[in-house]
């Protein structure tokens, strides 16, 4: 009789372990689900917006002409605190940025930053000079 009772308890313990294992697995799976894709959508939209607004307001062209990032710096500083961005200006054919603009606390670009580019031209001595503005953005940690 005693041994029979032992066998039943062992089965029950085993079943309980299986149930708990399922619960733990479900919890860990659900915890891993995040809406981080949402941050990417926000970054993407906001980065393209930034470049578009900068170009339409003439600030990109002005920075390239004057070789001065102060206008872009102040623009970036006025954006929401959680949005970090850095803009590098490349003259056509050059791989070295001629101007770098960024928020003061957003100098180090993380590897998972979002990259957006905008091509524009300015007239220097009646000759068109082409530039690429490369914006890297990320959410401040």
């Amino acid at each position: 009789m005693n041994s029979k009772a032992f066998v039943i308890s062992f089965d029950a313990v085993l079943a309980l372990l299986v149930v708990f294992a399922f619960l733990v697995a479900s919890f860990s799976l659900i915890s891993r689900v995040s809406d981080s894709g949402f941050n990417e959508s926000f970054l993407q939209a906001f980065s393209f917006d930034s470049l578009k607004v900068l170009e339409a307001s003439g600030k990109l062209q002005q920075a390239a002409l004057e070789n001065d990032s102060s206008g872009i710096d102040s623009f970036l500083n006025s954006l929401p605190y959680y949005y970090c961005a850095r803009i590098d200006f490349f003259e056509q054919g050059s791989s070295v940025p001629s101007i770098i603009a960024s928020k003061p606390n957003c100098r180090n670009v993380p590897s998972n930053s979002f990259l957006a580019r905008r091509f524009f031209a300015v007239s220097i001595n009646s000759e068109p000079v082409f530039y690429t503005a490369e914006l890297k953005s990320w959410i401040a940690g």
Binding site: M1, L23, F27, D35, F42, V53, A56, L79
Partner: protein
């Protein structure tokens, strides 16, 4: 005598063993119920939050990137407006459309909420310049238990503005 012995041993099985087993079972069952309900609660709040974020972001994108439908909605009656958009072209806010949107938001808040796809939530649209000065505001002043605020950059009268849509419940 044999019958009596059998009866006695059967009676023993139903006493302490059963009671203990039942207690263990109920204990385990209550733990399972507790965790399962937590699991469902967590899942449903996650999806509710995701719905809030998605609908807010979609509504804001529709506002700052499109002219709305019909494109001359500002001259239509409210039932004929299928979608609101305050842009003359993507990212360029049209001040006449914005003015109409502010007026309709004030006169028929619920219709605007539904047309924006935010029928389950309240909303507040705010437009600020980059110095933080308010340019326009529309929608509810109420506070919600949980909320989400999406922002986009746009141009209004050739000036950069931050267009923010906050939805809350």
């Amino acid at each position: 005598m044999e019958w009596l012995l059998l009866k006695k041993s059967k009676g023993q099985v139903f006493s302490a063993d059963t009671l203990l087993g039942l207690l263990v079972f109920l204990f385990a069952l209550s733990i399972v119920f507790f965790y399962t309900s937590q699991l469902f609660e967590r899942q449903s709040s996650f999806f509710e939050e995701l719905e809030l974020k998605t609908q807010t972001f979609n509504a804001l994108s529709s506002l700052v990137e499109t002219k709305g439908f019909p494109s001359n909605w500002e001259f239509q009656n409210i039932p004929e407006i299928k979608a609101f958009g305050i842009a003359s072209s993507p990212g360029i806010v049209d001040s006449a459309k914005l003015e109409s949107f502010l007026q309709i938001s004030q006169s028929d808040y619920d219709s605007v909420r539904k047309t924006l796809g935010l029928s389950k939530f309240n909303y507040r649209l705010s437009i600020n310049d980059l110095n933080g000065e308010s340019v326009a505001i529309a929608g509810s002043d109420a506070k919600g238990i949980f909320s989400f605020k999406a922002s986009r950059l746009a141009l209004l009268n050739n000036e950069a503005v931050l267009v923010s849509l906050e939805a809350f419940k």
